[in-house]
């Protein structure tokens, strides 16, 4: 069963080609999809666009029929105070639990809060989530992104 804090993230394979990002974003706009968080990783020839959106199923369908190669992953999100040491507190818990962070990205939330998104190896997600919970850090429920 999926972890209740697992947030669906879509990863899209993109060639480094002029106008390609424009096409992805237009596809999402046309499908009335709202992007809640994003990150982009790039190499010399290609990149991976990672998105958390308000309606992953709909986004997935729209992107697949638009001919994009994508993959759905599970990530989790935490909310910390938007102040020095906020990020550190989370990373420390994961490090102490021996959980490798594959990648992470963040955005500023409401009222001096920051939201951090983490991708860890699939099989370690439940362990990571319970470590965070026990560490007293607030996990963000998927509904926060989907609504």
């Amino acid at each position: 069963m999926a972890n209740k804090f697992a947030v669906k993230q879509l990863s899209i394979f993109l060639e480094n080609r002029k106008g390609r990002l424009l096409e992805v974003t237009k596809t999402l706009m046309d499908a009335r999809i709202n992007i809640r968080a994003l990150s982009m990783a790039e190499s010399a020839e290609f990149g991976i666009l990672r998105l958390v959106v308000n309606n992953p199923e709909k986004a997935r369908t729209a992107l697949a029929s638009g001919g994009f190669t994508l993959r759905e992953q599970e990530v989790f999100a935490v909310e910390v105070n938007d102040e020095p040491g906020g990020f550190y507190g989370v990373v420390k818990i994961l490090a102490e639990s021996d959980i490798n962070i594959e990648y992470t990205y963040a955005f500023v939330g409401e009222s001096k809060k920051a939201i951090l998104i983490f991708k860890v190896p699939e099989e370690l997600l439940p362990k990571a989530v319970s470590a965070i919970e026990q560490g007293g850090i607030r996990l963000v429920e998927p509904l926060f992104f989907y609504s």
């Binding site: 394979f13 190499s43 290609f46 991976i48 001919g67 994009f68 190669t69 994508l70 993959r71 991708k119």
Partner: protein, 433 residues
């Protein structure tokens, strides 16, 4: 073994070949103006053929010749003797048309029965024939062959994969006839549907042909279904499937009492000795409706003779390495798309879309292989993708002996930029023009 002729002494086969070759030459010379002109041009008369050595003096026939005489210009019988017409899709021009008399159909059934007998298919076997039924010779060729040896034929044809799997299981199919790519697709769908392709079916053998298959693909198929892989080679211009078939020892024997093979240098037309690689050429010596003299298949292979542990004495050929049209020479090294495909299949167990691009960088040729990243190989991580690319490059170097730059591209990129199913873009030629 279906017919004792398959293990007859070489001399006996040669006597038969010569008699039949002379009859065929008479036939085409007397009945088809095209052949008469070509024979006259090189100054040979049918009665001038005194030994099999004289075959090499006869003119070649090409696919263009067939097209130029569309539809029935090279037939040597009136239409009231033709009982079947097949045609190839004309993706690169006019279709080619082939016809069969009642006698030709018997020849076809005979060579297909020999093919099926490579794995002792016979009464009691249930043969799921997934080759397309229709204008393509694959479907009906295997159909008649399986019927001839007494197997129960299920004319499944292509497509409807899920239903086909269900019937294969419920009917207890023991034999699968299919293109390699469709059989692999079926195995994938079978797994998705919750079957175990190795154990939930009674299949024991598959007859695969109609498209080139790399060794990696063959092994993958054999393993996916847990079956014996029998290669079936043929082309509609000669008869359809049934020109050659793989014996249990993996030798692809040519049914040379009906089709005389030669291997030539594609540039000079000179006949090459056994064991040397070149273009395969066939002369049909028993066909009536459309006999064909020295047909250039464009397939690159080698011929071998000598005893085979299976007992057959007929000449055997290597699996087709590629088409002479497809061969690239990159910095002096011969490269076939099939080798690239082999690497891709071996690495990921799938055959992704790819295209080969050759260009010049200064005086040197450079080779790029663009591979489409689909859901099967897309990993969410730059590291994993870079690693895939690096591994592919290393394997290509091992397989092709040249450096290849691999580029990962989005699906449909290739279609969009190159047009359908074109595997090779040679920019060197374009720039010279």
């Amino acid at each position: 073994m279906w017919n004792d002729i398959e293990c007859a002494p070489k001399e006996e086969i040669e006597v038969l070949q010569l008699r039949r070759l002379r009859e065929t030459a008479q036939r085409v010379y007397n009945l088809v103006p095209f052949y008469r002109e070509k024979f006259d041009e090189v100054g040979i008369k049918p009665e001038g053929i005194r030994s099999l050595e004289d075959l090499k003096r006869l003119p070649f026939t090409t696919k263009q010749d067939l097209r130029a005489h569309y539809p029935f210009g090279l037939f040597t019988v009136p239409m009231d003797q033709v009982v079947r017409i097949h045609s190839s899709s004309g993706t690169t021009g006019k279709p080619t048309v082939v016809g069969y008399t009642r006698h030709d159909m018997e020849v076809w059934k005979e060579v297909m029965a020999r093919t099926m007998s490579m794995a002792d298919v016979g009464p009691g076997d249930v043969c799921n024939n997934a080759y397309g039924y229709g204008l393509f010779t694959g479907g009906l060729g295997f159909h008649y062959g399986a019927e001839k040896v007494g197997a129960a034929v299920v004319p499944a044809s292509g497509g409807f994969t899920k239903r086909q799997l269900l019937l294969m299981k419920d009917f207890g199919a023991t034999v699968l006839c299919s293109t390699p790519s469709f059989a692999l697709h079926m195995a994938e769908v079978a797994r998705e549907e919750g079957y175990d392709p190795r154990n939930d079916f009674k299949l024991r053998v598959g007859f695969f042909g109609a498209e080139p298959a790399s060794q990696g693909l063959r092994d993958a198929l054999s393993d996916a279904w847990d079956i014996l892989y029998v290669e079936a080679y043929g082309l509609s211009e000669i008869i359809g499937p049934g020109v050659a078939a793989g014996c249990p020892h993996g030798n692809l024997h040519i049914f040379e009492d009906h089709f005389i093979p030669e291997v030539i240098d594609p540039d000079t037309g000179e006949v090459l000795p056994y064991g040397e690689e070149g273009e395969l050429v066939f002369t049909t010596v028993t066909k009536q409706a459309l006999p064909i003299i020295r047909y250039r298949t464009r397939d690159i292979t080698r011929l071998h003779h000598g005893p085979c542990p299976c007992g057959r004495t007929m000449v055997f050929m290597d699996s087709v390495k590629g088409r002479s049209d497809d061969m690239l020479i990159v910095n002096g090294v011969n490269v076939f798309p099939s080798q690239v495909e082999h690497v891709l299949t071996k690495m990921e167990g799938i055959t992704p879309n790819y295209v080969i691009i050759v260009d010049k960088k200064g005086v040197l040729d450079k080779l790029e292989v663009w591979v489409e990243v689909d859901e099967n190989i897309f990993a969410d991580g730059l590291g994993a993708l870079e690693e895939l690319k690096r591994r592919l490059q290393n394997e290509m170097l091992n397989e092709l002996y040249i450096n290849v730059k691999v580029k990962l591209v989005e699906p449909k990129t290739l279609e969009r930029s190159m047009g359908k199913a074109k595997r090779i873009i040679d920019k060197r030629e374009a720039e010279e023009m």
